[in-house]
C-alpha cells in the first residue's frame, strides 16, 4: 500500500476558503481533539477495551479525513480495525506511529497557519 501524504494541500486550501477567519480556530480545535483522542486510545488499550478503541479510532479517522491529514487517517483506520477484530496485541505500536505522525502533522499545520 502506497504511503499517503502527511497533508492534503488541496483539501486544506479548500478548508481555508470555506472557513475564512475561522480556519485557525478549526486547526486549533483539530489539534486539541487529536491530543484528547490519542489519550483516549492509550486508555482503551490499557483497559483492553477493544470496543472503545474502535469507536475512538473511528471518530479520529473521520476528522483526519475531513481536515486533510490522510496518513494519520490511515493509521487510525488500522487502529479501528484492530479494535473491531479484538486484536489488541499490535495496537501499542500503531498508537506510537499515530503519535509520531501527529507530531509531523502538527508542525506542518502550524506552518500552514502562519502562511
Amino acid at each position: 500500500m502506497a504511503e499517503k501524504p502527511h497533508l492534503d494541500d488541496e483539501a486544506l486550501a479548500e478548508l481555508q476558503d470555506v472557513m475564512e477567519d475561522e480556519f485557525d480556530v478549526l486547526m486549533r480545535t483539530f489539534l486539541n481533539d487529536s491530543r484528547e483522542r490519542i489519550a483516549s486510545l492509550k486508555l482503551a488499550v490499557s483497559e483492553q477495551d477493544a470496543e472503545a478503541l474502535a469507536h475512538v479510532a473511528h471518530s479520529f479517522k473521520g476528522s483526519c479525513i475531513n481536515i486533510g491529514a490522510p496518513h494519520l487517517g490511515e493509521l487510525c483506520r488500522a487502529a479501528e480495525s484492530a479494535g473491531k477484530e479484538q486484536q489488541l496485541a499490535g495496537v501499542p505500536a500503531i498508537i506510537e506511529a499515530i503519535e509520531a505522525e501527529f507530531r509531523i502533522v502538527t508542525e506542518l499545520l502550524q506552518e500552514f497557519m502562519v502562511r
Binding site: 470555506v18 480545535t29 479525513i65
Partner: protein, 588 residues
C-alpha cells in the same frame, strides 16, 4: 401550488456530531450555502433542539456519546410525525450492514467524509425539493379530506331536510316492502308512498340520471309535489303530470328521472301502474304466476306537457298479489366474473323461491348472493306493494302533522263549475283543501273526500248527464255507460254543479254543511227505496243503493231538496281530547 419548489430559501439545518472538528467544518459549509445552522454534540441534544427549533433538515453523525445517531433518528422521526424531515447520516462507515442500520433507523441518505461541498449542496437542495413536494401534497390531501368531510356533513344535513319533507309517507305500511340505501338520495333514487284521503295508496319509485347533489336536488321538489298532491286527493296520473312538468322545467338537458307510479285501489281490487324507463315491474300473483309490467313511457322530465302521456295501465288483482318495482341497479349488478344479474336473474329468483318466501326477499337475497361485494347493494332500490283486503288497510294512518293554528272555524263558500269545465276538471282537491284548513277536519280527510266525491259523481253522471246506473250492471252496459258519458260531456251547455260549504262551531267541535246542487232535472226522492226504510234497497233511480248508503253512513244527515237536484249533508266532528283543540276551549 402555493410555493415554488425551485425557490431557494434559507433553511434551518440541524447538525449533530460529537467531533468538534467535523462539526465546525460542516457548519461552515452549510452556512456558506446560506442556511441557518443548529449545532448539537450528541443525540440527546439533537432531539431536544429538534423539538425546540423545528429544523427543516437534520444532518446526524451515527456514532455519538449519550445517545447515538440511530436512536436520535428514531426519536426525531416520531416527533416529525406526518411531516417529512429529511435525515442525512454523516458517516465514514463503510460496512454495508452499518449503513443499512442507519436507513432502518429512519435515515434518508448518507454524507461521507471528507465532506464535499458540491455534493452537500446538491443533497440539501434535492431533499428540500422533496420536503416541499411532500408538504404541498400533504396540504392538498388535508384539503381534500376536509372538503370530503364537509361534503359528507352537508349530505347528512341535506338528507335530514329531505327526510323531513318525505317522512309523512306510509312506506312502513304492512303491505309495503322496500329496500334503499340510507344515502339513496345521493344515488339519485327516490321512493315515496302515501295513502289517499279516501283509501288506497300511491307509491312512486324513481331513479335520476347521475349521482350526488344534482340528483338529490331533483328529488326534493318531487317529494313536495307527491305528498302535497296525494294528501289533497290527486290521483297518480295528476301527480305524474306535475312531476314531469316540474322536472322538465328544472333539470338540465340530458338529465331525467326514470320512474314507476303504483296506485293501489283496495276497494276495487286493482292496481294502476305507470312505468317510464324503469326495468320491467313484476306482478307476482298470489298463486305464484308472474306478469311483466314493462316500461311504456319515456322517463319523466323529457317530454313537454302537451306530449306527456299520464295514462296508467289497469291491472285487476286479488288480495295477496304483489307488485315489485326496482331500479336498474339490480339488473346491472355483476358477479365476480363480470356477468350481469339482469332480468333473467330476477325471473330465476322469483321462480325458484319457496312458496313461503316473499318475492321481495327472494330477489334481494338472490342479488346479494350474486354480486361480487356487499357494497353493490347500496345502489339498489326496490319496493313491493301487496294487495290486501280493504278492511285491513284502513289502519294506515295519514301521518300529516296537525297545524298548530286553530284555523278557520266560521266560514262559508260557494264554488260552481260550469259547462265544458265539468268534463275537464275535478273540483275535489280544491274543495278538500278548503275543508282541511280546519284542523279538526284534518283527521277526517278520508270521510270528507268520500262525501265530496260521491256527491260530485252523482251530480255529474246522474244529475247533469242523466246516465242510468242500471247500465253498469252488465259488461256490455258498462262500455255503453262510458261511451254515453263521453258523448254527453261534450253537450253540457248551460249546465253547472254548485257546492256550498259552511262550517261552524258546535259545543263539542264543529259542523260542516255541504250542499251540492246540479242543473239536472232531479229525481223522485220521495219514493226512493233507501230513503223509505220499509222498502228493500235495490234498483233505484238516480242514486245507486251503494252511494246513498255510504253517504248516510258517513254523515249526520242526508236531505234532498227541490226536485231532487239538491242534496244537503251535515257532517259533525268532535274534539278528540278536551284540550287538544284550542278553538273549542276558549271560544265557546
Amino acid at each position: 401550488m402555493e410555493e415554488s419548489i425551485a425557490e431557494p430559501k434559507p433553511l434551518t439545518i440541524l447538525i449533530a456530531d460529537d467531533s468538534d472538528t467535523d462539526r465546525l467544518i460542516l457548519a461552515a459549509l452549510v452556512r456558506r450555502l446560506g442556511h441557518r445552522v443548529l449545532e448539537a454534540k450528541n443525540g440527546q441534544e439533537a432531539v431536544q433542539l429538534f423539538q425546540d427549533c423545528d429544523p427543516d433538515i437534520v444532518l446526524l453523525d451515527a456514532l455519538m456519546p449519550v445517545m447515538d445517531g440511530m436512536e436520535a433518528a428514531r426519536q426525531i422521526k416520531i416527533l416529525a410525525g406526518e411531516r417529512m424531515v429529511p435525515l442525512i447520516f454523516l458517516t465514514s462507515l463503510s460496512e454495508a450492514e452499518d449503513l443499512a442500520k442507519c436507513l432502518d433507523a429512519g435515515g434518508d441518505d448518507f454524507l461521507s467524509k471528507p465532506y464535499n461541498r458540491v455534493i452537500l449542496e446538491a443533497k440539501i437542495n434535492a431533499f428540500n425539493r422533496m420536503r416541499l413536494m411532500h408538504r404541498a401534497l400533504s396540504r392538498q390531501r388535508d384539503l381534500i379530506r376536509e372538503r370530503n368531510e364537509q361534503l359528507l356533513q352537508e349530505q347528512e344535513v341535506a338528507k335530514r331536510v329531505f327526510d323531513n319533507v318525505a317522512h309523512t309517507g306510509c312506506l312502513d305500511a304492512f303491505n309495503i316492502r322496500h329496500h334503499a340505501s340510507p344515502l339513496a338520495l345521493f344515488n339519485g333514487d327516490v321512493l315515496f308512498a302515501a295513502p289517499f284521503p279516501a283509501g288506497g295508496m300511491l307509491v312512486f319509485i324513481g331513479d335520476f340520471t347521475g349521482h350526488g347533489l344534482p340528483a338529490a336536488v331533483g328529488a326534493m321538489p318531487l317529494a313536495e309535489i307527491f305528498y302535497g298532491m296525494v294528501t289533497k286527493g290527486f290521483k297518480g296520473a295528476d301527480v305524474l303530470r306535475e312531476f314531469n312538468q316540474k322536472l322538465k322545467q328544472i333539470l338540465p338537458p340530458g338529465m331525467f328521472c326514470c320512474g314507476g307510479m303504483i296506485e293501489a285501489d283496495f276497494k276495487h281490487n286493482q292496481l294502476q301502474v305507470w312505468n317510464g324507463g324503469l326495468p320491467d315491474g313484476w306482478l307476482v300473483r298470489a298463486n305464484g304466476d308472474l306478469e311483466l309490467v314493462p316500461s311504456r313511457h319515456l322517463p319523466l322530465g323529457i317530454l313537454s306537457s302537451d306530449r306527456f302521456d299520464d295514462s296508467m295501465d289497469t291491472l285487476p288483482t286479488e288480495p295477496g298479489d304483489r307488485l315489485l318495482m326496482l331500479t336498474d341497479g339490480f339488473l346491472e349488478s355483476r358477479n365476480t366474473e363480470g356477468r350481469l344479474f339482469g332480468d333473467s336473474g330476477i325471473r330465476w329468483a322469483l321462480e325458484s323461491r319457496t312458496v313461503s318466501q316473499h318475492p321481495f326477499d327472494a330477489v334481494l337475497e338472490a342479488v346479494k348472493q350474486f354480486s361480487a361485494s356487499a357494497a353493490d347493494t347500496d345502489d339498489l332500490t326496490m319496493c313491493s306493494v301487496e294487495m290486501v283486503d280493504e278492511v285491513g288497510i284502513s289502519i294506515i294512518q295519514d301521518r300529516t302533522e296537525p297545524s298548530p293554528l286553530p284555523g278557520p272555524m266560521e266560514w262559508h263558500c260557494e264554488y260552481e263549475i260550469r259547462e265544458r269545465t265539468l268534463g275537464d276538471f275535478s273540483p275535489l282537491p280544491l274543495l278538500l283543501h278548503i275543508c282541511m284548513e280546519v284542523p279538526g277536519l284534518r283527521r277526517k280527510s278520508g270521510e270528507i273526500y268520500t262525501l265530496l266525491a260521491e256527491l260530485y259523481s252523482n251530480a255529474l253522471e246522474h244529475g247533469v248527464l242523466e246516465l242510468s246506473s242500471h247500465w253498469k250492471q252488465s259488461a256490455e252496459g258498462f262500455d255503453q255507460y262510458y261511451e254515453e258519458r263521453r258523448r254527453r260531456l261534450s253537450r253540457v251547455e248551460g249546465h253547472f254543479i254548485r257546492f256550498s260549504l259552511s262550517h261552524s262551531m258546535t259545543s263539542s267541535g264543529g259542523r260542516l254543511r255541504i250542499v251540492c246542487e246540479d242543473s239536472g232535472s232531479g229525481f223522485d226522492f220521495h219514493n226512493h227505496p233507501i230513503l223509505n226504510e220499509d222498502q228493500r234497497p235495490g234498483r233505484a233511480g238516480r242514486y245507486a243503493g251503494r252511494g246513498l248508503l255510504l253517504l248516510k253512513r258517513l254523515a249526520e244527515s242526508v236531505t234532498f231538496h227541490q226536485q231532487g237536484n239538491q242534496v244537503e249533508i251535515i257532517f259533525d266532528w268532535e274534539v278528540a281530547g278536551s284540550s287538544s283543540n284550542p278553538a273549542s276551549s276558549h271560544r265557546q
